[in-house]
Amino acid sequence: MSDLSLLIKNVDLSFPRHRIGIGSLFRWLKRRMGQDARILPFEALKNVNLSISKGEVVGIIGRNGSGKSTLLRIMSGIYQPDRGIAMSSATVNLLSNVKIGFNGNLSGRENVHLYGSILGHSREKMTAMMDSIVSFAELEDFIDQPLKTYSSGMQARLGLSVASAVKPEILLIDEVLAVGDASFKERSRHRIKEMVDDASTVVIVSHNLNYLKKVCHRLVLMENGKIVQSGDPEETIKMYNELILR
């Protein structure tokens, strides 16, 4: 068996550029008549190679728009690469800061079931874990209220609680550690540390360099859709700082 958990090989991904406005027929006619130039697609990832071993905790840093989130989406299967290949050894769970699968009219409990089924867990499994999920999110008093009555912090806490409750083999985290108050942040860090100790593979995208330095074995620096550095956290952070100041 391979000791790899995730493998990204020669991956390219480009997005079609959107044109603002309505009525593409007129634009098309204009282009036909040579009045309007064709817009080239945006290359979000250019020949990205990355392999992550089992149990490794990897942080991805880089400026806004450098392709960090796109890379996570490739890893979790949301985007299929234009070229190259993305492989994994187990199902990949992506935890992202935008509240997903959450329906405002349903209660917190129903939403946990819904989110659980999206993550591929059975109803029985979710019912069994319900208590621990609710207490981790500190939502005991609110769990049967409609989700729309929750504050944004509460919703984010519930999301993180569900996604991390199941102990996924591979967890991708996209800048969600900033949610909640200080005590919740502390506990979610603790939970990630638990997963690290359980030898789960964790990939974290964050701008919190101090935190990444503490938990990650390795940092990856991205710039303009390319991986420019991958290795020792201290060294990578130094390079990142140079990049920002340049």
């Binding site: 068996m1 391979s2 000791d3 790899l4 493998l7 991904l13 997005f15 079609p16 959107h18 593409s24 392999s51 071993s53 490794e56 989406r73 490739i74 890893m75 979790s76 299967g77 949301i78 985007y79 299929q80 290949i85 993305a86 492989m87 994994s88 050894s89 990949v92 992506l94 992202s96 935008v98 997903i100 699968g101 329906n103 009219n105 349903l106 129903e110 079931h113 819904l114 089924s117 999206i118 993550l119 591929g120 059975s122 109803r123 991958s230 290795g231």
Partner: protein, 290 residues
């Protein structure tokens, strides 16, 4: 950096591989089975939140077609003085079946654009959005068919074995709605016109389908040898399901020719095959555009 050059790939699988044209359809079908729990959850979520905060709750499933049919019935009796006593039953069955088609199609056409946020945050087969929407609509439709019972009692119609036509009709509509829905859902991401077009088709189609009228009436008006009706059968795949539904409940025999029934079945199966294959093949490009 660990593992460069020739990695050991044993135990690794490709994340969400792009399907081949031939295998896309069977793969997607097996996905439905794998994700049956998810479909059930999405469906029940959809149904339960639809009637939340309402006083009469699920009674709306019956009330909505009933009220609509009442309006159509009076409109129709004013326009046409000779009426069959079975007309109210016919109209209500037509309205229920047509609403299933219209709401189901519009929901599946918007299934990608409407779930943009979820699609970008988590991966699961996106064809399931349309499936669960249509399933929810199917459950509502089945519930509203209860309304036919008092009409049948009033008219003294005994249920016959032809009642089996009803699930067949609903099945045909389901396949059409899903197949065309998947095809349109991916096109709708590229061109927002598709959703507008669908809304127009489902509204205009109401009049050119036997909802307020019956094929027997059309035959009567056009004469038995008219070939206009053949065009109707070919161009409008909803004619057969609507007529099947009517015959299922009133026990009369079908006036639609056999070839039209075969065509309708064929159309339904083909649309699902083509719709799902195109959906799976274009999915990766479409998601990037969302």
């Amino acid at each position: 950096m660990k593992g460069t050059a020739d990695e050991d790939l044993r135990g690794l699988t490709i994340v969400n591989p792009v399907s081949k044209t031939i295998t896309a359809f069977p793969e997607a079908l097996s996905n439905f089975w794998i994700h049956k729990g998810l479909i059930r959850n999405f469906t029940s979520r959809d149904i339960s939140q639809r009637y939340r905060n309402s006083i009469v709750g699920y009674f709306w499933t019956v009330l909505e077609p009933l009220l609509l049919s009442a309006v159509y019935y009076f409109l129709f009796t004013i326009l046409r003085d000779t009426t069959d006593s079975r007309l109210p039953l016919w109209i209500i069955l037509g309205v229920i079946t047509w609403q299933y088609f219209s709401k189901g199609l519009n929901a599946s056409v918007n299934s990608l654009t409407g779930n943009k946020n979820m699609i970008k945050q988590i991966y699961f087969p996106r064809e399931l959005f349309a499936v669960s929407k249509v399933m929810a609509q199917l459950v509502v439709t089945a519930m509203s068919l209860v309304v036919a019972i008092p009409f049948m009692i009033k008219l003294g119609i005994q249920p016959t074995w032809q009642l089996l036509f009803a699930p067949i009709a609903l099945m045909l509509v389901t396949l059409q709605v899903l197949g065309v829905g998947w095809l349109f859902a991916v096109s709708n991401v590229h061109h927002g016109d598709i959703a507008h077009l669908t809304r127009f088709v489902t509204r205009a189609g109401f009049f050119v389908s036997p909802v307020m009228w019956q094929v027997s009436l059309a035959i009567e008006k056009a004469g038995p040898k008219s070939y206009y009706l053949d065009y109707l059968y070919i161009l409008n795949p909803m004619v057969v399901p609507l007529e099947l539904m009517r015959c299922a409940f009133d026990g009369t025999s079908l006036v639609v020719p056999n070839w039209a029934i075969i065509w309708s079945v064929l159309f339904s199966i083909l649309s699902v095959y083509i719709g799902l294959t195109v959906f799976k093949k274009t999915e990766s490009k479409v998601v990037k555009r969302l």
